[in-house]
Amino acid sequence: MGKLNIGDKVILSPQGLQQLIKTLWEEGYTVIGPRLGDGAIVYGEVRSIEDLPEGWGDEQEAGRYRLRRRGDKALFGYNLGPDSWKRFLHPPRILLWKAEKTPKGFRITHNGHEAPRYAFLGVRACELHAIRIQDKVFLQGRYKDPIYMSRRANTLIITVNCTEAGRTCFCASMGTGPKAHEGFDISLTEVTGDEHYFLAEVGSERGSEILERIEYRAAARDEVSEAEERVSRAAESMGRSLQTEGLKELLYQNYEHPRWDEVAERCLTCGNCTLVCPTCFCTTVEEVTSLDGGSSERWRVWDSCFSLQFSYIHGGSVRASPKSRYRQWLTHKLATWQDQFGEIGCVGCGRCITWCPVGIDITEEVKAIRENAVKKV
C-alpha cells in the first residue's frame, strides 16, 4: 500500500492500537487517554491498551454518574467522565514565574515553563470543539497565552467517535458531534462484535506518519459503513437537546427572568460545572511566598465565577447573589461568548448536568426561559 493521504481510511486491530500507543511513546509523546480512576473514567497516562477501560461503560443522569460493566470488550465504550483535556492544555495549577528578594527589591529568577509533548487518545468530537474554542480564547486575541500555545502546538490528537450517546449528551443539537470532522491527526471509530476493529481516518501529515509505522489493512466498504452507521445511531440517541436558534438575543433580553431566582434556590454555587466544563477558562493567581520571604512564586490556578471572591472589588462582590452568579455562568457560556469569540461556548458534552450535585440541567434552564420569555426590555 502506498503512502497514506489525509482522508484515507484504514483498519486497525486492537493489536494495531497497541502498536500505535507504543509508537507514540517512542516518538517522545506522553500518551494521555481514558483510564479507570476514582470510580469514573478519567484521563491519565496510557502505556498500553491494558490501561484502557476495557468493557466499562457508564450511566449518567442529572446529578448521577455510575460505572457499569458493558459485557463486551469495548475500549472506548464509555461516555465522558469528569476530566477534560483542558486539564493538560490549560492546567489547573501552573507556575507563571518566580522571584527572589534582593536588597533593592526583587528579581525574577524563573520565567520559563515546561511544555510536555502530549498525544491525546480518545478525544470525543465535542471535546475537539472545546479545544478549538479554547484556542480562540488563548491564541486568537490581541494577546497569546504562552503556556497554552506551547502545549497546544506540541499536542497530537487522536479522536474516537462516539457510537453511543449518554443520557446527558446533547452534542448533536450543538453541531459538535458525535463525529469529528476536522482538527484531528487520526480519527478512530471503534467497532465491537464478532470482529473487534477500529476504522482509522488520517487527519494530518503527522497522523499519516504515525500510522505508517504500525500495522493496518485496507478498509472494506462494509466495514466503513458499519462504523458510520454506529456513529449515526449515537446522533439519534442523544439524551438531551438544546435549541440554539436566537439564543443570544433570548438571554440578552431575559436578564431579569424569574427563572434565575428559581434556579438560584437550588444552585449551591459550588462551581462543579465550571471545573468539569471543557471550555470554562477562568483563573486566578496565587502568590506563594517562602517562610523567610526570600522567594515568591506566582501560580495561576483555575477559578470559578461561582465564588464570591471572583467579582470582589473594594466594598464587596459585584455578583453577591447566587442568582447573579448562575446567570453569569449560563449567559456567558451561551450568549456573551458569542460576542466575545464568535460562537457559543458550550459543546453539549453534558458534564455540567451530570456533575451538578443537585442536578441542575442547562438545557432545562434554557427551555424554561424560552417558554416564558420576557419581551424585549
Partner: protein, 283 residues
C-alpha cells in the same frame, strides 16, 4: 518520563518589570500618589485612561489607572487608595522601594475624537485619577477643543485629590472648574452636594459636547442621567469601569461585564455600547 522542552519565556505581558519609587505624595488620609521610574531605564508610553498592573513582592498585584502626564513617559504616576491588602502594601512602599509593573493595558479616553467639541469632565472621588492624564492633555492642547469644563465631587474637602493642581486649574480663564463636596467641614466655602448638581449649570454647546465620566458606578449612573437631561446623547458620553482583574489580558475572565472584558475592551467605554448591561444589577 515525558519528553519536556523548555518553552519560550513568558511574554512581557505576564511578567512584571521592576520600577523604583522616586516620590510619594500623600493626597488624603488613605490615598497616595507614587512616582516610579523603570529600574532598567526606558519609557512607558500610555494613552490617558489606560491602567497598569502594580505588583508588590510577595503580596500580589492589582490594576491601577495611570495618573501621570502622557508627555512624560519616563515617570510613571499612580494614585492609589489603601483599601485592600495589595493597595495597603503599595502605599506603604517608601522612596527607593521597588514595585513591579505590567502594562499599560486597555482603552483610553477619546481625546482625538473629541477635538473640535466642547469637553465636559465629570469626576467623583478617586475617579479624578484616571481623568488627570486626559485633563493634562486637554490643557496642553487647549486650542484643539471648544469649551472645557471640569466638575469634581469629593466626599469632604479632606478627600480631594490634587488640591494644588485644582487651584491652578481653577485660576485658568480658558477652562471652567467647579468643585463640590457631599459633606462640608469647617472653613469650606464652596458648593455642597453631589457632583450631578453641578451639571445643569454647565455653560456648553450641548449639541457639540463630549463627556468623560469616572467615579463610583452609582455616581456615573446619575451623571449619565443628568447629562442626558441636558441633551447630551449616550453616544457622546464615555465612562471608565472597574472590575476585579487578575491578568489584564483577557485570560482570567474576572473582569467580564456582559460581553465585554473590561481589561481589553475597556476600561473606557462609550456609554451606549455598555448601556444594556449597565442598567442591570450584578452583571
Amino acid at each position: 518520563m515525558a519528553m519536556l522542552q523548555e518553552s519560550e519565556p513568558l511574554e512581557g505581558t505576564l511578567l512584571p518589570e521592576p520600577f523604583i519609587v522616586s516620590k510619594v505624595r500623600r493626597e488624603t488620609r488613605d490615598t497616595f500618589t507614587l512616582e516610579m521610574e523603570p529600574l532598567n531605564g526606558g519609557e512607558k508610553h500610555f494613552t490617558p485612561g489606560q491602567f497598569n498592573m502594580i505588583y508588590v513582592y510577595g503580596v500580589g498585584e492589582v490594576p491601577i489607572s495611570i495618573s501621570g502626564d502622557p508627555v512624560e513617559p519616563s515617570i510613571l504616576k499612580h494614585t492609589v487608595r489603601a483599601v485592600g491588602t495589595v493597595t495597603r502594601a503599595i502605599t506603604s512602599v517608601k522612596r527607593g522601594g521597588m514595585l513591579g509593573v505590567r502594562g499599560p493595558f486597555g482603552s483610553g479616553w477619546p481625546l482625538k475624537e473629541a477635538e473640535g467639541y466642547d469637553v465636559v469632565v465629570v469626576a467623583g472621588g478617586l475617579g479624578l485619577a484616571p481623568l488627570r492624564p486626559a485633563i493634562l492633555h486637554l490643557l496642553r492642547n487647549r486650542e484643539r477643543y471648544g469649551r472645557v469644563a471640569i466638575l469634581y465631587g469629593a466626599r469632604t474637602p479632606m478627600d480631594m485629590l490634587y488640591k494644588k493642581e485644582l487651584e491652578r486649574w481653577r485660576a485658568r480663564f480658558d477652562i471652567d472648574l467647579d468643585v463640590t463636596v457631599d459633606h462640608a467641614t469647617g472653613g469650606w466655602k464652596g458648593n455642597v452636594g453631589v457632583v450631578t448638581t453641578l451639571i445643569p449649570g454647565l455653560k456648553i454647546d450641548v449639541p457639540n459636547t463630549v463627556a468623560l465620566v469616572c467615579g463610583p458606578e452609582i455616581m456615573m449612573r446619575f451623571t449619565v442621567r443628568e447629562l442626558n437631561k441636558l441633551g447630551i446623547p449616550d453616544e457622546r458620553i464615555y465612562i471608565s469601569m472597574e472590575r476585579n482583574m487578575k491578568c489584564a489580558v483577557g485570560f482570567c475572565g474576572h473582569c467580564q461585564f456582559g460581553p465585554q472584558f473590561i481589561c481589553r475592551d475597556g476600561p473606557v467605554f462609550r456609554y451606549d455600547v455598555i448601556r444594556p448591561f449597565f442598567q442591570v444589577r450584578e452583571v
